[in-house]
């Protein structure tokens, strides 16, 4: 079942400047969907539209199979959210913050203890929120989002500003919620490294356009396809021709040639080929092609 679906979603704050362009999101039930994009690419705008915080006159946003416009209350009752910095009443205790949402959401009283335990804030629940650290506030925001046992969690940059320990804690918590409770999670980030360890699906947003959407493994495949090796030899021109006859070459520069490779066996074969052709190899350098670079490449293009 598709939990979030948008069809050609456009949005503009002013007439001349489209912030989102024909966005077609598809988030499947039970997935952890990472919504990636550089700052200013339109992630928060998308999330605000998904939660009905920004006006949208068309029926092109569906959550749980229903249009947001006609089923807002029903959809929000099944959705927990955290937008940018958590919205908390700083003069109140963590418990009071939870109690406010609990009453509005009609959740059971025992849910407060459960979510406090889940985010490890039980001992700090009576403390005023203004005395909390950023990580604690983020965890409290998550606890509030989890109060009504939602089927969908929409989180906008949930690890933003957290230290590495905090990032690991939130990451583990989200994985646990997804695996044990079957909660579909839609989370945004501008750093792939922050979320690549937990996502099953990815959507990459660049300048308001969805430039990649698919399973996380699809992105890894893309990574393999774009892997290159830089080779410097005694005769670069000849090397380019020899390698080009058997393998996919990319380009020839002044100092070296660039060759695509699929696996390490292929590197060994290229090496062997050059030696057999009596070409001296001065340098073979694998190019850094981690996912972060792929992400940068995609968003740059």
């Amino acid at each position: 079942m598709t939990i979030i679906e948008t069809q050609n979603l456009d949005f503009a704050f002013s007439k001349n400047e489209l912030v989102l362009k024909e966005l077609n999101l598809k988030v499947e039930q039970g997935s952890i969907y990472g919504f990636l994009g550089p700052n200013g690419s339109g992630k928060t705008t998308t999330i605000r539209l998904l939660l009905g915080l920004l006006p949208n006159s068309k029926d092109n946003i569906k959550l749980f199979g229903h249009t947001l416009q006609d089923n807002r209350i029903n959809i929000l009752s099944k959705t927990g959210s955290l937008i940018e910095q958590p919205s908390l009443y700083e003069h109140l205790s963590g418990f009071d913050n939870l109690e406010i949402t609990r009453r509005i959401r009609n959740a059971n009283k025992n849910r407060i203890d459960k979510v406090l335990e889940l985010v490890d804030l039980k001992t700090a629940s009576e403390k005023k929120v203004k005395e909390y650290s950023l990580g604690m506030k983020q965890r409290l925001g998550l606890a509030i989002a989890l109060l009504s046992e939602p089927e969908l969690l929409i989180l906008d940059e949930p690890v933003n500003g957290l230290d590495p320990n905090g990032i690991i804690e939130i990451r583990e918590l989200l994985l646990k919620l997804n695996k044990e409770n079957g909660i579909t999670i839609f989370l945004s980030s501008h750093l792939l490294s922050e979320i690549e360890k937990i996502v099953t699906h990815l959507g990459v947003l660049s300048k308001g356009k969805l430039v990649f959407q698919g399973q996380y493994n699809d992105l890894k495949e893309l990574q393999n396809k774009s892997a290159t090796i830089h080779i410097e030899t005694s005769d670069n021109q000849k090397s380019f021709e020899v390698i080009g006859a058997r393998f996919q070459t990319h380009s020839m520069l002044n100092s070296h040639i660039v060759v695509h490779y699929q696996d390490k066996e292929q590197i060994a074969a290229i090496c062997k080929l050059l030696v057999e052709t009596n070409i001296d190899i001065y340098k073979m350098q694998l190019q850094n092609n981690d996912l972060e670079n792929i992400f940068l490449e995609i968003t740059k293009n």
Binding site: L51, G52, S81, S87, Y89, E90, E99, I104, R105
Partner: protein
């Protein structure tokens, strides 16, 4: 109904540990305490003549003090502080992602403020009576313990003052939604109050259309304005009700259609 009570109760949780509560409590007690201080320090000038009820002076001094700038600014400050809880904590976006209608959020806020104002008057009554009798015990010459206050008039003044508050409440309810910076509504109230004092000094008849003057008009109707009654309400209180309806409709529309937090 159960949901309404539950939702309104969340507004009271939000106001916990804020100055709004202190404003209601201190606000209700300040004027009786101040008038008591005046009575105790100037008691020789206030000893009643034969046949005169000293509670009449205690009432007049208290209510004129209340009506002048005190109650209007209580309403303005309370409304600003109440909305500032959401503005300051940036919590509107959280509220709007909860499964609750925007109209319910608006109604909860309005009802809570009306309850706060009602509480102010409810607290004022026993504090005022208590202060009067305490002054009477300390200075028996003032004869406050040998006479009784006019309880019906006291309750009636509270009721009419409450009605006079409604127009001002609705205007500042809208302003507090519209402007995140609470200085703006307060500045408007300061300007409004200066205008009403000028209108009063100038004995201008149009003062009856000016909501910042309504509390004082309830306590001490301007002699130069012909008193027109509409049932139990004098004209300015009818205008207060009218302003309440107009500005509430206006702010409701703004809150539902335009306001995004």
């Amino acid at each position: 109904m159960q949901n309404l009570i539950k939702n309104v109760s969340t507004e009271f949780i939000k106001s916990k540990k804020t100055f709004a509560w202190w404003l209601v409590i201190i606000g209700a007690g300040f004027m009786p305490a101040f008038v008591s201080f005046v009575f105790l320090s100037k008691w020789k000038h206030l000893v009643p003549q034969q046949g005169h009820n000293p509670w009449d002076d205690f009432t007049e001094m208290s209510w004129k003090g209340m009506g002048f700038l005190y109650t209007p600014f209580f309403i303005v400050l309370l409304t600003c502080l109440f909305f500032n809880i959401e503005h300051k904590n940036n919590t509107w976006k959280h509220i709007f992602t909860l499964p609750i209608l925007k109209s319910s959020i608006y109604l909860n806020k309005l009802l809570t403020l009306l309850i706060f104002i009602a509480l102010f008057y409810i607290l004022y009554i026993p504090i005022w009576i208590g202060c009067g009798f305490a002054v009477g015990l300390i200075k028996p010459q003032l004869q406050l313990t040998t006479h009784s206050p006019d309880y019906i008039s006291l309750v009636s003044l509270c009721f009419h003052s409450f009605i006079a508050s409604l127009g001002l409440l609705a205007i500042h309810f809208w302003l507090s939604i519209r402007f995140k910076n609470m200085i703006i509504p307060i500045a408007i109230a300061v300007v409004g109050s200066i205008i009403w004092i000028a209108l009063y000094q100038g004995r201008v008849e149009e003062i009856t259309y000016f909501p910042y003057s309504y509390h004082y008009s309830t306590v001490s109707p301007p002699a130069w304005v012909k008193l027109k009654m509409f049932g139990i309400f004098p004209q300015h209180e009818m205008f207060s009700l009218l302003y309440f309806v107009i500005f509430t409709s206006f702010s409701y529309r703004y809150f539902i259609k335009t306001f995004k937090g």
